[in-house]
């Protein structure tokens, strides 16, 4: 099934960090319901990576299909000169978006309204501001599988966990110097952080 041009246009806008809430809603709807939309969305992310780094990522296979996606993509907006801010925001959006909707289409989690915001992350999404003893978000690991080589994502997820154990105590020491309640910085440390 061919993909509607308006969906493609919205996807490009969202990837550029310029999508409106209507664009985002349209993309979410399409990606949730349409395999072709999911495929196109993933290819756009690969394209974005190429444009961001100026070279083909070693971990991503940039195929002819991706190149054709570049040529065939609507040109309402391109990845502009906003620099790392817009790109990072787009990538952030893409990462969480990919993990939550592409990975678990049945989850029904709330979605971001605009790219670049603090997107709802898995585990935290259903929890609202409350002082009650409601469900607290579990440790959230990298949900994204947007890179075409998921094993690299898994490696970095584990590495991030290791780095938190390695540097967590050191960071807590600095954070305690800023927190109004210094004990909070140390109290939040998981038990498995490296000790002195």
């Amino acid at each position: 099934m061919s993909l509607d041009d308006s969906v493609k246009e919205s996807m490009s806008a969202v990837m550029d960090g310029e999508g409106t809430s209507i664009d985002v809603a349209r993309v979410f709807r399409a990606v949730k319901a349409d395999a072709a939309a999911r495929d196109y969305w993933q290819r756009l992310q690969a394209v974005s990576s190429v444009m961001r780094t100026g070279q083909a990522p070693q971990v991503i296979d940039i195929s002819e299909a991706v190149l054709s996606a570049i040529e065939g993509a609507p040109t309402r907006r391109r990845v502009g000169p906003l620099g790392s801010m817009a790109v990072a925001a787009s990538v952030t959006f893409a990462v969480v978006f990919g993990g939550q909707l592409l990975g678990t289409p049945e989850s029904g989690l709330p979605v971001a309204t605009v790219p670049g915001v603090v997107v709802p992350m898995k585990g935290a999404a259903p929890v609202q501001a409350s002082y009650g003893a409601g469900v607290m978000p579990s440790t959230i690991r990298e949900p994204a599988r947007t890179a075409l080589n998921p094993s690299v994502s898994e490696v970095y997820e584990r590495l991030a966990q290791q780095q938190l154990r390695r540097f967590g105590k050191r960071h807590a020491g600095w954070s305690a110097g800023v927190q109004p309640v210094a004990a909070v910085a140390h109290a939040r440390l998981p038990s498995e952080v490296e000790q002195d």
Binding site: T92, Y131, V178
Partner: protein, 288 residues
């Protein structure tokens, strides 16, 4: 119980909604903040240096829930704590706290909105509520119930800018100790050194408050409420470029293997977007 919970939830949400609307009828003072808000925020920020206390802190984050016995003395800069649920007869741990430079209230108000409301009793003490909402998406928000007598936050809820709860701290019992000092002036800045890399740009409102090379090249950034630390080391040859992160409560750990063979890790109580921006700004000295 359920009704109390309902009331509390509404109180927090109403506090956040108030921040979204223009200032009310209260007279505006410094930085567009009312005199009441200024005195309360200033008191809260300086309480770590001026107040001594002992208590039991309930900690909830990332599926964990535990009690921590704490004792803090502002003048000595020491904090003692003991995790009560990790092992029986756990030995108390003591840490020296290096108070970092405090950001001016007006600067802080550029990046956070503040609102003050009556608070609910916490640990049997009267509080006022400070709702601190980020003005952009680069930092987290906080709702604090602050002790009226000592200005120590007795309950702290950390939220995303969309109001999603990340972690909660609350004193189950709290006792102010006698030692109370005036706020210190000229708080010493930690050492800032120059290494083989630099930060080409910083997120708005953040500044470098420390840097060093032990155990690896690192920087510490803060906006006055949030803190993040950046670590740069060589990327192992066998590790392809890529990225990953974990979030535990409000603490994010983000690691990126860059194409120029650096392994950059950001740890902090900040959103992922902020960590990415900071990691992207790491450049070799002399590079663009």
């Amino acid at each position: 119980m359920a009704r109390n919970l309902f009331v509390v939830i509404h109180g927090a949400l109403i506090g956040l909604m108030c921040l979204a609307s223009p200032a009310g009828a209260e007279s505006q003072d410094a930085c567009g903040l009312s005199g009441d808000v200024v005195s309360r925020v200033t008191g809260m920020l300086s309480s770590a240096e001026t107040s001594a206390y002992r208590g039991t802190l309930l900690v909830e984050y990332a599926g964990n829930r535990e009690f921590v016995a704490v004792e803090g003395t502002g003048s000595s800069g020491l904090i003692t704590f003991r995790h009560l649920n990790r092992s029986a007869d756990a030995a108390p741990e003591t840490r020296a706290i290096s108070r970092l430079p405090r950001v001016g209230l007006c600067e802080l108000a550029s990046y956070y909105g503040f609102a003050s409301d009556p608070g609910q009793p916490v640990a049997g003490r009267q509080t006022y509520r400070l709702t601190i909402r980020p003005k952009d998406t680069l930092r987290l928000g906080y709702v604090m119930d602050v002790d009226q007598a000592t200005h120590v936050p007795l309950r702290i809820v950390t939220l995303t800018s969309e109001g999603q709860l990340l972690e909660r701290f609350e004193f189950a019992e709290f006792a102010a100790l006698e030692q109370t000092l005036e706020p210190q002036e000229g708080i010493p800045v930690l050492k800032v050194t120059q290494g083989p890399h630099r930060l080409a740009s910083l997120p708005p409102g953040f500044s470098v408050i420390s840097s060093g090379h032990d155990p690896v090249e690192h920087w510490v950034l803060s906006d006055g409420l949030a803190t993040l630390s950046i670590y740069v080391e060589p990327r192992p040859d066998k590790l392809s470029p890529g990225e990953g992160f974990v979030v535990t409560g409000a603490t994010l750990a983000y690691t990126r293997g860059s194409f120029d063979r650096q392994l950059i890790t950001v740890v902090g109580e900040v959103p992922l977007t902020t960590a990415r921006l900071v990691a992207e700004s790491v450049r070799p000295f002399g590079g663009q």
